[in-house]
């Protein structure tokens, strides 16, 4: 048997198709080592540092008034920014996925624009518009309207950085589904709103949820853009990430990591939900490869 050419060919083919043991061991070690060093170690560090001085101090750090007001402000900003982007994202996806018009790819590029703008610049543009020395600054001051160093500025900067999330997840899904369901409903006499609420929304609910999930995670964790517009007035305009920064710069490491661990917890819940959605509704969420 051994001098027959067939087993040798099979053996060679098999070797050419699969990495050898040592190659596999090497690549696996490199991949795991890299992920351990750059992903898992930072995550573990957050929780270790948060509980470094015991559970009591951790609890104290996250229940002191400034921390609580930071939590409240973060939730409030997300509660305004996320629904706004939800409505705009659904509208954008409807226009882009269901209709053919000229300038569509330009519109998509514009919607994606915030992803390629530095977060700091996302905040800067509003300071240039609404800040004391900005284009509209004097007018706003005369009318006693505060945008920069106040809630509206935080909300605007957050909406800017999270603008593309919902539309990006919805557009490819709605395009893939086509319009025949809606056309059938309309032909059978359903009103436009009824068609949208009972046909379109249920069809895309998982990718919509997926987009909102990512949008929310980014909205609550945004740092660079809100740094610029916040003014860091403690207890008033500090969101959780900004509160973390203040505590860290005051060398209050335990408190900084305690608040940071709440945000890390949010990230882990987001990842878990995201992974669950991807495993169970892989077809509905085709956008896994994009952020």
């Amino acid at each position: 048997m051994s001098d027959s050419p067939l087993p040798a060919a099979i053996y060679r083919t098999d070797r050419a198709l699969r990495d050898g043991f040592w190659i596999r061991a090497l690549l696996l070690t490199l991949a795991l080592g890299f992920l351990l060093l750059f992903l898992f170690l930072p995550l573990i560090a957050v929780f270790v540092e948060a509980f470094a001085k015991g559970y009591g101090l951790f609890l104290e750090s996250i229940t002191e008034p400034d921390a609580l007001s930071a939590v409240r402000l973060t939730l409030l900003v997300a509660a305004i920014a996320v629904p706004f982007n939800l409505v705009v994202g659904v509208a954008a996806a409807w226009a882009i996925a269901k209709f053919e018009f000229r300038g569509k790819s330009l519109l998509i590029s514009f919607i994606d624009l915030p992803f390629s703008v530095s977060p700091v610049i996302s905040g800067l543009v509003y300071v240039l518009l609404f800040g004391a020395q900005g284009f509209l600054g004097p007018w706003l001051k005369a009318h006693d309207i505060e945008i920069i160093f106040a809630l509206p500025g935080l909300v605007l900067a957050t909406i800017f950085v999270t603008f593309p999330f919902v539309a990006r997840e919805l557009i490819p899904h709605m395009q893939a589904l086509g319009s025949s369901d809606e056309e059938a409903a309309l032909t059978l006499g359903a009103s436009p709103w009824r068609t949208f609420l009972t046909i379109t929304l249920p069809n895309v609910k998982w990718s919509l949820f997926y987009g909102v999930l990512l949008c929310n995670a980014r909205a609550m964790g945004e740092f660079g853009a809100v740094t610029v517009v916040s003014g860091r007035i403690r207890g008033l305009t500090t969101t959780m990430p900004l509160h973390v920064e203040i505590l860290y710069n005051e060398y209050n490491s335990v408190a900084a990591f305690a608040v940071a661990s709440l945000l890390a917890g949010l990230a882990l819940v987001t990842l878990a939900l995201k992974t669950y959605l991807e495993w169970h509704f892989a077809d509905a969420i085709s956008a896994k490869s994009r952020h």
């Binding site: 060679r12 083919t13 050419a16 198709l17 990495d19 696996l28 991949a31 992920l35 060093l37 750059f38 992903l39 170690l41 930072p42 995550l43 560090a45 540092e49 706004f84 705009v88 509208a91 954008a92 409807w94 226009a95 882009i96 209709f99 018009f101 300038g103 514009f110 919607i111 624009l113 390629s116 703008v117 530095s118 977060p119 700091v120 610049i121 800067l124 543009v125 509003y126 240039l128 518009l129 800040g131 900005g134 284009f135 603008f163 809606e182 436009p192 990512l214 609550m220 964790g221 740092f223 660079g224 990430p241 490491s253 990591f257 940071a260 990842l271 995201k274 896994k288 490869s289 952020h291």
Partner: protein, 296 residues
Amino acid sequence: MAGPSISFTSRRGDCVAVTASSWRQPSILPGFGLSLAITISALSLIVLIPLAALFLKAASAGPADIWAIITSARTQAALRLSFGAALFSAILNAIFGLIIAWVLVRYRFPGRRLLDAAVDLPFALPTAVAGIALASIYAPNGWIGALLAPYNIKVAYTPLGVMVALVFIGLPFVVRTVQPVLEEADADIEEAAALLGASRLRTIFRVILPGIVPALLTGFVLAFARAVGEYGSVIFIAGNVPMFSEIAPLLIVIRLEQFDYAGASVVATIMLIVSFALILAINGIQSWSRGRLGHV
């Protein structure tokens, strides 16, 4: 050119004439005007007008001042660090991202799906949290910093620290662009190559890699673009020494805090122009690979 005109009777019984204008194809679906109006108003108010204000502010500084800001040693040092560190970290991410994608797609081992999910952590973890965590690990008394200290290697508070942070935030981009291409790659072609007598190395370099290159390039550019503008994860570990470990986004924040709006706008505009060039590059890569391979 006028499009075709269709008239039909709506539910309420009145006759509606739909004349498709030349810029859009006719459709019986409602809501085009409303949804496009919402999209364009929000886009203009939130994104386009504010960005236009930035360009206007930068331009209003006047050519002499703009040149002085661009050529100032501090601006140059900050831009060099931001772009240099971003380039280095994107290269590192391209190499390890490819290895991680390969391992996740081709190998079966316990915990693989968990690892796959964990790759997205940098997208989900707020940048400030990543920043303080990395700073504490790589500080001279941190877990890794203490290991490196005897060899006189300083990571935190040096440009090396900037790169570490940028590697962290750029990691998912290459993995997530290469992974689907590897998953879809046909094993048939590899088998054919092997049956035709190609060695494993030859198969990898002549059959597998060419198909991945466009995705790898896209992931590389995405990681690079993200790294150039990154702020939150960097400033804690960088130490922020002017001319040494100060990144361009931080320089923008510092100029703003000094009420030097023109200085901030000019640096921001340079960064934006480069980012836009990068988007064009990505689009170029994608249409090139579509033309070449028939898919992205």
